[in-house]
Amino acid sequence: MIKLKAVLALTLGCLLTLSVQAVEVRDHHKEVIGKDCKTCHDNGIKQFPSDQSCLQCHDVDDLAEQTARNEEDKWQNPHNNLHYGKELPCQECHGEHQPKQPMCNNCHTFKFDKHKQ
């Protein structure tokens, strides 16, 4: 029990520093994250980034190509999917300061091996 509390305290401690430090910085984000928060937080530091924010550097068409699936499963491409096309805002599935589940999990059992939670 005591052990558990310690772990909890530790995690809580970490959470406090999350606002400045991403949980697990993706390699390609090392350049920007932690240096200039406004690069992503275009709506202000205490606000979530806008839906366009990630698109300053990432191109939806490229992402869709990278995650393309074969003809039979083509609509399971998270970046170009059946329900929302290419319009699903990045923040639905990706977070830098908190782990997130792929949205498809709400209803489907698909596997996304590369998805960083």
Binding site: E87, Q91, H108, T109, F110
Partner: protein, 506 residues
């Protein structure tokens, strides 16, 4: 606890997650106010809230009727609501495909089927209005680019085959083209914009709304309130409340967090409750429908639902304890959901029944491959294997299949009186495909009362509340106790179009 075990840890946790999300998202502050002295941040011509079938159809029709400045506001980050994850099944009477297939149908017949499943309390005038305009709505989807399977389906409770389905077997095959059409017509679409209350004029008329912009659903970020004036009127197309566990339990205490749900997370109902606060008439709120075609092996609607909807007419549903059928596989939804819920083991614990289909017949549906591939359904080469896997007593099961096959031959189901037309020549033979069945909360029949012009009626005067229109699942009473499958798309689209016509005439 029973249901928790049944649904498995994964789904149970998911249910709890959704509940927690709603708790954070639910604002205590939403309330309508007098518009006196309000500083308007924006003015629009037609203001639509919600981006499902009803909202999109309203926006297109308003534009076609000459509106120049139409705006859709959607609280989620993505557009489409339940409509974008819907099964894409669309019922209409007197369609070109019915003529082609020689199916005799009419507005009267479709209304009669719906009145029957509504169990005497459906709104005949509204059902008739929708059935009369359903082909027009179907045409709107086709004009926007929707494509449909080249066959009709006969769904549970329908006396004839009258249901189209998009080629992608999903409502997105309609919402995506409609959203594109909206943009082509110059409709303004705003995401992360949450309706929080009406602004009411001197005579009680609706003059605008309070909108929370930069809103992040389920997250702790306040966003910002703006006051938007609607010159012609406000159309509420905010859908149902199946995801709001508190509200649905207030109506039906059995629908706890442990019961699965097929709806999109945004189906939380605050738009509807705000209309009640204004004076709208609540109808049939406790009639909340569960889908009898859902599977406990995946979340939401998943892949199994459309698979079973297609396959029920030529399949048998088996109680695993007895090895026998326990329902008419194409009875209406309530009849089947109740029958499934009664499938329990000796201790009374839930025991999801199974649906057995011949692979030769099931494979015609595009989902069959996926159901097997994603482990939410199974294929068996022999009846022995199947029986062993689900612990069904073999002898009675074999006898039941034999008996059922005799009904396929004679066209007369002596056990449950199932209409065997669609089962003709489809004998139950190996290899088999099998899925597990268990109902999920699916559709809210209740909502605000409207007229056939999509006007929202006031509880005290019985008159329409000026400037306020509603369309789609947020409205109540139309279907009565139980809605027939594939009858929501025509309703949402027709009433969305109707609301737009009324707004443009007002």
């Amino acid at each position: 606890m029973k249901d928790a075990n049944l649904l498995g840890r994964r789904n149970f946790i998911k249910g709890m997650g959704a509940a927690a999300g709603v708790a954070i998202a639910a604002p205590a502050m939403a309330i309508s106010e007098k518009a006196d002295g309000v500083k308007w941040d924006k003015e629009v011509e037609v203001l639509i809230i919600g981006s499902g079938f009803a909202g999109l159809a309203a926006a297109i029709e308003a534009s076609r009727k000459g509106a120049k400045d139409v705006h859709i506001f959607e609280k989620m980050s993505y557009f489409g609501g339940n409509s974008a994850i819907n099964g894409g099944l669309f019922a209409a009477p007197g369609t070109p495909m019915q003529k082609q297939e020689g199916v005799k149908d009419s507005v009267d017949r479709m209304v009669a089927d719906q009145m029957k499943s509504g169990r005497g309390v459906a709104d005949e005038a509204l059902l008739r209005h929708v059935a009369e305009h359903a082909v027009e709505a179907l045409q709107m989807t086709m004009d926007a680019g929707s494509e449909f399977h080249p066959y009709l389906q006969q769904l549970g409770g329908h006396s004839v085959a009258r249901t189209y389905q998009t080629t992608v077997s999903c409502g997105a095959g309609i919402t995506q083209p409609l959203l594109n059409e909206c943009r082509k017509l110059g409709v303004h679409t705003h995401n992360r914009a949450k309706f929080e209350g009406f602004l009411v004029g001197d005579k009680g008329e609706i003059v605008g709304v309070k909108m929370r912009e930069n809103y992040h659903f389920g997250e702790d970020q306040p966003g910002k309130i703006s006051h938007i004036r609607a010159k012609r009127g406000v159309i509420m197309a905010t859908g149902g409340f199946a995801q709001n566990i508190n509200l649905r339990m207030a109506q039906d205490p059995t629908l706890t967090a442990e019961v699965g749900c097929t709806n999109a997370p945004g189906a939380t109902g605050e738009g509807m409750y705000e209309m009640f606060r204004l004076g709208a008439i609540p109808v049939h709120l406790a009639h909340i429908q569960s889908g009898p075609w859902a599977s406990p092996d995946e979340g939401g609607f998943g892949y199994v639902s459309n698979y079973t909807i297609y396959n029920f007419p030529h399949s048998l549903a088996i109680h695993r304890l007895t090895g026998k059928r326990f329902m008419n596989e194409i009875a209406d939804r309530k009849t089947r959901a109740d029958a499934e819920l009664s499938c329990r083991d000796e201790k009374g614990e839930a025991l999801p029944p199974i649906l057995i289909t011949s692979y030769k017949d099931s494979k015609k549906h595009p989902n069959t491959k996926k159901v097997i591939k994603y482990n939410v359904g199974w294929k068996f080469d022999t009846i022995e294997e199947l029986a062993k896997h689900f612990e069904v007593p073999l002898k009675p099961l074999k006898a039941q299949i034999e008996e059922y096959n005799s009904y396929v031959k004679s066209g007369d189901d002596k056990q449950f009186g199932k209409n065997m037309t669609k089962a003709k020549d489809k004998f139950i033979e190996a290899p088999f495909t099998v899925v597990r069945l268990w109902p999920k909360v699916h559709y809210c029949q209740g909502g605000v009362q409207i007229t056939t012009k999509a006007e929202v009626k006031d509880s005290f005067t019985g008159q329409p509340i000026s400037g306020l229109y509603a369309a789609g699942e947020v409205c109540g009473g139309i279907h009565g106790v139980s809605r027939l499958g594939s009858c929501s798309i025509p309703e949402c689209m027709v009433m969305g179009m109707t609301a737009a016509r009324s707004v443009m005439q007002a």
